[in-house]
Amino acid sequence: MPEYENSSVLNQVLLHPNSVVGADLTAWLATWGGQGLRSALAAPESIIDRVREAQLRGLGGSGFPTHIKWQAVANEAEGDKYLIGNGNEDEPGTFKDRMLLELSPHQVIEGALIAALATGINHVIFYINPHLQRAMTAMQQAVAQWLESSLYPEVCRVVGRTVELQVMPSSGYYVGGEETAAIASVEGSFPFPRGKPPFPAQSGVHGKPTLINNIETLANLSHLLRNGVAWFHSLGRGGNSGTKVYSLSGDVLNPGVYELPMGITLNELIFSYGGGMLVGKKLKAVFTGGPSNTILTKNDLDVSLDFDSVRQRHSSLGTGAMIVVSEGTGIVKRVAEYVRFFADASCGQCPPCKSGTYYLSMLLDKIDTGHGRRVDLDAITNLCEMLPGSGRCHLIDGAVKVVDSSLYHFKSEYEQALRQPRARVV
C-alpha cells in the first residue's frame, strides 16, 4: 500500500512535499523521481496502454483523453517528432502551471521523457510564458541537470535517437496557448491559430508530427507509472481518476493553488479549502477555467469538479481556475473586464472574433458605466447568437460563453444598469 493512504486528500501527488523539491534533480531522484521513468524504460511499448487504462485526460482545459493524442503521434512514421510542453498559461485566474514549474520542474521533465519513450519523439520543447520568470529559470536549471544525469542517455538509447530538451519562451500572448498557435510560435512566427485538420499529430512543428500536452498533464505521468493504474484511479472521486490542481481566487478567505481529488465538489473547494467567502458575503457566481466558460452559480455548489460533471452544467472545468465572486460584485463590470481581455487577446486573423469582441466589450462598458440602452443589450444578445463558431480557434466562443451565461443568470442586473428615461414634469 502506498504510504499516503492515510494522509489528507490535499496535495497528494503533484504538490506533495516529495514532489515540491525545486530544480534539484538529486533531491527529486532521492524521493519519487526516476521510478516512473525506469518503469517506462523497462516496457516502453506498454506506456500508452497504461495511460489509457488510467484515463488520464488533458488538464490544460480540453479534458481530451491523453492516450489518443499519444497514439496518433506514435502511429506516425519514424522521423522527427515534436513534443510541446505547453506552459503558456496566461488567462485570468489561472496560475497552476507556474506553480508546478517553479516548485517541481523535474516531474514535468520526467513526464515529457516518458511521452518521448511512448511515441518516439526526439524534440521536446517546454513552451513557457516569458512573463513567468521564476518558472522559466527553474525549468532551465532542471533541464541542464537532466542532460547530465545517467537516466537521460538511457532514454535516448531506447528512443533510438538523441532526445533534444529545450526551454523556449512562448510568445506571451494568450492566444499562443492554443495548439496550432503554439506550433506557429515554436516555428518562429506570430502565434496565429490555424484551422484543423490537419491535426498537429499529423502535421505540427515544421510539418512534423507534434504532441502538445499541458504542463499538468505531463507532471502526472511519472507518478502514474510509478504507482500504477489502480492507484491513479483511487485518487479520484466518483469514478474519476487522478487529481486536479485548482487555481482558486476571488472573494474567498484563502485563495491559492490546491491539488485535490478529481471530482471534489465546488462547495468543498470553496468552503473546506478556500476557507469560505470573504467577509461572510454570499456566493454570487464562479467564473470557471479561463474565464471562457459558462458561469456557475450558488445552485452549482454541489457540482463535482471533473470534466464531465461540469459539462453537464453546460460549463467546463477548463484549466481548473475558479474565480469566486460574492454578492456586491458587479457582474456586468466583471464580464466587461474579461471580454476586454479577450478583445485584446484576439489575434486579428478572424474579423468576427476581433471586431466581435471589440464591439461586445464596448457595449458592455457602455452598459456598465450607465450609458447603456435597450438597443445595446439587444445587440449583445444577438451577437451571442451570431458569433459562436466564427473563428479559427475557440477564443470567440469562450468570450461569447461568459457573456451569454452572465446574461442567462443575471439578466436583471444588466437591465438595472440600463440608462433610465428621464422623469418628466408636465
Binding site: F190, F192, S346, C347, G348, Q349, C350, P351, P352, K354, S355, G356, Y358, Y359, M362, V375, D378, A379, T381, N382, L383, E385, M386, L387, G389, S390
Partner: protein, 205 residues
C-alpha cells in the same frame, strides 16, 4: 418578375421582406425604426457596418448593410460604434517632403508592429488590399499605397479589427493626402491663378 419573400433576423428581430431589398430596406420594410448606422445608402459613407451570418455558414462577415441584399435565414447585427480615437497630424507641419517618411512613423508608430494577420483584408467591405497598403506606406511608397485606398469609405472596420491598433484606413488616407499636398502642381491651374492675381479676369455682369 416575382417577388420572393425571405425571413431573416436583424438586430435580433425577425424580419420578413422581399429578396429584392438590401438589409436596411428590409428592416424598414418590416416596420422597425432604424436611424443610426444609416447614411448615404449608396455604399460610400461607411456608416452601415453590419455583421452578417448566412444560413448554414460558420462564417461571420462584415459588410455594408446598404450594399448587402437580404437572404433567407440571414442573421444581421448593426455595428454602430463611435469613431475610434484618431492619430492627429497637420499637413502644414510638414515643412519638407523629404521628411514625410520619418514623420510618418512618429504619427503612426504602430505601423511597424503589423503582425500580418490579414484581418484587415478580410474585413474590408470594399475588398481593398489593406495590409499591403500599410506595408507600402511603411516603406515610404505613399503614392502607391494611396492608390490602393481609392475606394476606402472610412468605415473604420479595419481599425476596429486591428490587433495592433494600427489605423489602416487613416494610413491610406495619409498616404493619399501627402501625395496631393506635395506632388499635385498642375500648370494649367497655376497659370490661371496667376492670371487672376494679375487681374486679367473680371466679370462683366
Amino acid at each position: 418578375m416575382v417577388k420572393k419573400m425571405v425571413s431573416a433576423k436583424i438586430n435580433g428581430h425577425a424580419v420578413t421582406a422581399p429578396d429584392s431589398m438590401n438589409i436596411i430596406q428590409a428592416y424598414w420594410h418590416a416596420g422597425f425604426p432604424r436611424i443610426s448606422g444609416v447614411g448615404c445608402l449608396e455604399g460610400v459613407c461607411g456608416s452601415c457596418r453590419v455583421m452578417v451570418r448566412r444560413v448554414d455558414s460558420g462564417k461571420v462577415t462584415a459588410e455594408l448593410a446598404c450594399q448587402t441584399m437580404i437572404e433567407e435565414g440571414m442573421q444581421v447585427q448593426f455595428l454602430s460604434f463611435q469613431t475610434p480615437k484618431q492619430h492627429t497630424y497637420r499637413l502644414a507641419d510638414f515643412k519638407n517632403s523629404w521628411d514625410v517618411q520619418s514623420q510618418f512613423f512618429d504619427i503612426f508608430p504602430e505601423v511597424s508592429h503589423c503582425r500580418h494577420c490579414g484581418g484587415c483584408d478580410v474585413v474590408c467591405p470594399k475588398d481593398i488590399d489593406v495590409e499591403n497598403g500599410v506595408g507600402l506606406a511603411a516603406m515610404g511608397r505613399f503614392r502607391e499605397a494611396g492608390e490602393l485606398f481609392v475606394e476606402c469609405v472610412m468605415c473604420n472596420l479595419c481599425k476596429s479589427g486591428c490587433p495592433e491598433q494600427i489605423a489602416p484606413n487613416q494610413v491610406g488616407l495619409f498616404a493619399r493626402r501627402v501625395t496631393a499636398y506635395f506632388h499635385i502642381r498642375p500648370s494649367n491651374l497655376i497659370n490661371r491663378l496667376e492670371a487672376i492675381r494679375r487681374g486679367e479676369f473680371r466679370i462683366t455682369r
